[in-house]
């Protein structure tokens, strides 16, 4: 059952991912954004399969919920349609494809050769409680740094979006 779900989720995630970046039918950013949302969702499904329930929730909430909405807002705001009118640079596409496929190949080969510890032996249960403890004990420092980071982001967004400059 889980295996079937894995195949389903991952296939859908990859398909949606593909449609995000290289939709053969449309190059509308809105379509891309929507497929990205779908990818996020299927990924969340995979997270569930991995028993990372908290992360799956966060994925839906933050990514699919917040980030993607932000994207859509901006797309609508900017009313972007231009890309469609432009031609592909064949050489660029080929080079890009080759390098990306190369990366995929190398990664795949490396993964094949490597046998990471614990393969086939999934044991960890999604323990939100434990996760919380870790976050606020062991990982307190990064957590606090991230809070500063968020402050910076806020500040930055304000600075970049304020209407008047003075």
């Amino acid at each position: 059952m889980t295996d079937l779900l894995f195949v389903l989720f991952s296939a859908l995630a990859l398909l949606c991912g593909f449609l995000t970046v290289a939709n053969p039918f449309t190059r509308s950013p809105v379509a891309s954004a929507l497929f990205l949302v779908l990818t996020m969702v299927w990924l969340a499904g995979l997270f569930v399969l991995l028993h990372a329930f908290f992360i799956a929730a966060v994925q839906i909430l933050v990514y699919a919920g917040a980030v993607m909405v932000l994207f859509l807002f901006v797309i609508m705001l900017l009313d972007l349609r231009e890309e469609e009118r432009r031609r592909w640079n064949r050489f660029g596409v080929a080079a890009g494809l080759i390098s990306v496929l190369g990366l995929l190949g190398i990664t795949a080969v490396t993964l094949l050769r490597a046998t990471p510890d614990g393969t086939g032996d999934a044991q960890l249960e999604g323990a939100t409680h434990a996760l919380g403890l870790m976050l606020f004990r062991q990982y307190l420092l990064p957590f606090e740094i991230v809070s500063v980071l968020l402050l910076v982001a806020m500040l930055g967004v304000i600075l970049l979006s304020k209407r008047e400059l003075k």
Binding site: G92, G96, S99, I106, T110
Partner: protein, 646 residues
Amino acid sequence: MRPETLAWIILLLPLASAAAITLLTRRQRRLSAALSIGAVAVGFVASLLLTRSFGALAPRDGEFLLASVRWLEVGPLTVDLGLRLDALSNLMLMMVTGVGLMIHLYSRGYMADDASYSRFFACLSLFMFSMLGIVLASNFVMMFVFWELVGVSSYLLIGFWHERASAADAAKKAFLTNRLGDFGFLLGIILVWGALGTVDFAEIQRTLESDPTALGALATLGGVLVFMGTMGKSAQFPLHVWLPDAMEGPTPVSALIHAATMVAAGVYMLARAFFLFDLPAAWPDCLSFLAGISALDIIAWIGGITALLAALMAVQQSDIKRILAYSTLSQLGFMVMAIGCAKPDAGMFHLITHAFFKALLFLGAGSVIHALHHEQNIWKMGGLAARLPVTTWTFVVGTLALCGVPPFSGFYSKDGILAAAESRPLLFGLAILVAGLTTFYMARLYFVAFAGTPRDSHVAEAHESPGVMLWPLRWLAIASILGGFWGIEHTLQTVLAPAAGHGAAGHGAAGGFFATLLAPFGHAPLAACLGLFATGFGFALAYSLYASAPAQDPLPARLGSLARWMRDKFYFDELYDVLVRVTHDAAAAVADWVDRWLVAGLLVRGTLGGVDVCGRILRLVQTGNLQTYAFLAAAGLVLVLWVMLL
């Protein structure tokens, strides 16, 4: 005064005078002249004084005094600033200072109108210093030092009128040709030092006398290299080309440097270092085809060829000074030949007498030129005997001495040379021929320039030169007449003959005046008679051609192209021009081209440009498109991964 002190005074006074004139008295003409003349006069007196302790006239065999200061001491090389005083150098000292004194005095008159009067005397003094340095040098390096200094003073004096292009060119040519000889000289010195570890004449002589093979396979090569110095300085074939051109200098300079003293330095060096040449022939393997030819052979033949060629060239010259210049060449060839025939005494003897009469002849020519306002073409002269009596009779004395008419000094010295060549029939014949040619061209000169009637208006207005110029003529004439009897020959034989491996008993041994007078006929009758015959024949020929005072030279018509070759100096200048052009100028052109286009161009500019172009091309990567950047980064990373992981 101690002889060493005297020697230092003789050497350094002219230098002091040159320095003083240059630095202090440039504007006071008379004072400059006085300083210069005073220096050489004191030198002359001191040389005479030296004879007391040395006795040029009563020499003691093989002895010398040395006054030296350590000039350089580096590792195994030590060089002294040494003055070697012996009969040979003493004799040379007297000759150089004596003739020099005459010419200095003469110059006061000759150069009186020149704007650079002081500079002239400064250069003369510098020359005297250098020449005396050669004479006194006790080792090869010192000799080389002064050798070069003589070269440069000669350069300065030939180019004295440097604003004249011809003079400047002649000076340059003289210096460069001399440098060719010096190149060999220096290498020879180094070679000898390399083998023997010393440059001192006495030590080398001692070593070589005890072991004639001490130089090993390089013996003859060393000798020939050192002889190259002579070839340059004494203008021996094939480096003879500079001397005739050197006549561009003021006439006193020609007399002093290019007739009496400097050009004789080469011969003096040969005599001084005779021990180096008189060695059994030995060649390194790579030059084995020369086996059996000794240094002396080469020297003799070079001298002979020079004598003949120069005499032939003299026959067809029309410039009075050039005729004398070729005559000088020819006589120098004689001297060298004599030394090559292992008779340094004969060569030196001729050197001394030649100094007297050739200085006399040049000064006489100078007097003529002075009187004719710098007209030098003999075909524009004629009938000078009437206008310039003193000049004429002294000139005649000089001519007779040069032609070897007894009892003038030239007869005795030339006879010695002919006698020396007797053992080599070919050279002997050549020498007799040259003797005849000498008389021919000198008689031609006399007949065309002095006898007959004036060919040009200048001659009619000519006046005899002032006394300050005539007195040196007279004194030199006396010296030319008496030079053969003074015992010079005897002195030289005593000093040099042992070195040449002959017995001390020479043919000029004291035996009364008449014995001396007729000595040549006694010990080498063939040479003396043939020499006289050749002289007579040459005179007769000249008389038949020129006594009738023709308006132009009848000889070219008779000799055809040979005469043209003679007039054009057998095209040596042209040949050398071509030689220099195909060697050095071509090398320079090639080097310059390579430097300009390959090294500076291709290598340097090419590298710079190549790097620049690389930069400009590589920069195109920075398209400004961030997607390109992203791609490049990704592609680079993939490349790295691929190399590192697969």
